[in-house]
């Protein structure tokens, strides 16, 4: 297959690009910020995400397009909505406009996020009401809307992946990385929140298997939304304890007892809709996944 990944230099994008490359697919990677030099993909370009450039790229006639671009950091979008809107929403609309007008209409899979659900302690189903509470979440939600709009009106094939917390070697943020960094540098450290927050933490290799299987099974998405998650929740306290144990270091930790403005108590995925499509996929045990991540840092 000929595959295009916008945002293929990021954490999930680069792992996705490597997966397809290893499996002998022809991969084109694009970024609007910075080319990741560690990514060994020949066709890796920095471009401006204008409709004109998207049109030029689409003329390569791809079988599958992923849009994983845009701001991926809730922390940086806390004070500036315009950055999220211009880097994610406007660029995604530019892509959709380009596809609408192009002869080649490959399926487009948009990387949304669990955060569109907002605060909800129940296992999250794709049809739950959305309640974005951060700029990052709002932007993802608006993109989902744009995807649905173009899917319904212009006969495009758009799929939405609501990606839950993902970790693994190479990711330099979020709770697993932050904790490893603290374990390796401080004897007594603090972790955001109460520790009782529940996260559906998924290992990157498993997420890539889920994404690629899903996109392979659904050739023509119809504005469908799928949770991309491990489906097994852990408390943050549990994850931190496991990492400390893996490190074999004598460190103390405590919790700030305060959550950041964009943090929610629980994110638990209901994966039944996704599982129905992809079937059984063997997951990396959490201790193995955490060890691999710890060792890579």
């Amino acid at each position: 297959m000929k595959i295009c990944i916008f945002g293929g230099n990021g954490f999930i994008g680069s792992n996705l690009a490597n997966y397809y490359h290893k499996n002998k697919h022809k991969v084109y990677v694009y970024t609007q910020t910075k080319v990741n030099k560690n990514l060994k993909i020949k066709n890796n370009f920095k471009i401006r995400y204008s409709e004109k450039n998207f049109t030029y790229i689409l003329n390569k006639k791809f079988d599958l397009v992923y849009f994983l671009s845009g701001n991926s950091n809730q922390e940086t979008s806390k004070s500036d909505i315009y950055y999220d809107l211009t880097s994610t929403f406007n660029t995604f609309v530019n892509l959709l406009e380009a596809v609408k007008k192009n002869k080649s209409k490959p399926p487009i899979w948009f990387a949304s996020s669990v955060v569109v659900y907002g605060s909800n302690n129940k296992p999250l189903k794709e049809n739950f009401e959305r309640n974005p509470i951060s700029y990052y979440a709002l932007t993802k939600y608006l993109c989902e809307n744009a995807g649905k709009f173009y899917n319904d009106n212009f006969n495009l094939n758009i799929g939405i992946m609501r990606i839950f917390s993902t970790f693994g070697p190479g990711l330099k943020k979020l709770v697993v990385y932050d904790t490893i960094k603290k374990i390796n540098s401080i004897n007594n450290f603090k972790v955001f929140g109460t520790g009782n927050e529940i996260r559906d933490l998924a290992f990157i290799d498993d997420q890539i298997k889920t994404i690629t299987t899903l996109c392979n099974k659904i050739k023509k998405p119809q504005g469908d939304i799928f949770n991309i998650a491990a489906g097994k929740p852990y408390t943050i306290k549990n994850i931190v304890k496991k990492l400390v144990k893996i490190s074999k270091k004598k460190v103390l930790f405590s919790f700030t007892k305060k959550r950041r403005s964009f943090d929610t108590k629980n994110f638990i995925a209901d994966k039944s809709k996704t599982n129905k499509i992809i079937g059984f996929i063997k997951k990396t045990p959490i201790d193995v996944a955490l060890k691999k991540t710890y060792d890579s840092n």
Binding site: I81, Y82, L85, N90, V93, E97, P132, L138, Y141, L142, N145, K148, F149, D152, N153
Partner: protein, 291 residues
């Protein structure tokens, strides 16, 4: 009304509200019509609103946006640029002020209107993806919803509003009026669709009552009565003594739409003062002085 400001006072609806309520302060880059006595605060754009920090207001009527669905339906980015982006900018400013009420305008076209002929209340199902224009209005509603904790808001889903204006507008009544004074033969696309036509002065009263209410959320504004376009063209024909003909073309909106305004009445005790005939005659008599 001293603490109320209005953005978009140079458009169609803004001047009508300002004229009826001279204590409302106008804010915008274009001044409202000269004859209005309202205080006006000039701004270059919505990117930097610090100039407003020293102005005492806690209620906002926000009319900036485009209702030109003909143009927006050709290019979604126009809808995003003129309806969605200005709203984000004003919300970003207002979230840091203590605002009692913010009111903005979307459209009854958002409704799915599954059973034409049955009046549609705010609980009616929506179809936000039916065209570019409706989608841009849907983005506005989602934005207002996102800021609702810091900016208590009302979203008005407005039915077919008509009234006098010096502006050249694409809507049904202004187009007919412009043609009545300029052309010998007057055509409309279709006289069959049934719509709820509200006179702008009535709508202005409803908006002002809403902005002073305790309500937040979505509310329909209409008269609660619908008429075929033919009734409207007959009234204008009768007053102008000009024949108005139908091209019998397909229209983009619903063929029959009835607005349920029970919620509006409950919140505000408002009711329209103008019948369709009275509103159209007033519109005609005012607009004939413009040509």
């Amino acid at each position: 009304m001293k603490n109320t400001v209005l953005f978009g006072g140079s458009g169609f609806f803004g001047p009508i509200i300002l004229k009826k309520y001279p204590n409302i302060i106008s804010i915008g880059r274009t001044k409202p019509p000269k004859e209005l006595k309202n205080k006006h605060i000039q701004i270059k754009n919505l990117n930097n609103l610090r100039k407003l920090d020293s102005i005492n207001f806690d209620k906002v009527i926000f009319l900036i946006g485009s209702s030109n669905h003909h143009i927006i339906n050709k290019n979604v980015n126009i809808g995003i640029k003129y309806n969605f982006e200005p709203l984000i900018k004003i919300m970003e400013y207002l979230k840091n002020r203590k605002i009692k009420k913010f009111i903005c305008f979307t459209t009854i076209l958002l409704y799915k209107n599954e059973k034409p002929g049955k009046s549609v209340s705010e609980k009616g199902k929506t179809d936000p993806y039916k065209n570019n224009y409706v989608f841009s209005k849907h983005l506005m509603e989602e934005t207002v919803n996102f800021y609702k904790k810091s900016v208590p808001s009302i979203i008005v889903r407005l039915c077919n509003i008509y009234g006098y204006s010096k502006l050249k507008r694409p809507d049904l009544v202004p187009t007919i009026m412009q043609d009545v004074f300029k052309k010998k033969k007057i055509f409309v696309w279709n006289t069959k669709p049934v719509r709820d036509f509200i006179f702008a002065e009535d709508a202005a009263d409803a908006v002002v009552k809403l902005v002073n209410s305790n309500y937040t959320g979505v509310v329909n504004i209409g008269t609660g009565k619908s008429y075929p376009v033919e009734t409207l063209t007959n009234i204008i024909s009768s007053v102008s003594k000009k024949q108005i003909l139908s091209k019998n073309k397909k229209v983009s909106g619903p063929y029959k739409f009835l607005t349920n305004i029970n919620l509006l009445k409950k919140i505000t005790k408002w009711k329209p003062k103008y019948t369709l005939k009275k509103g159209l005659v007033k519109t005609y008599n005012i607009m004939k002085n413009y040509y």
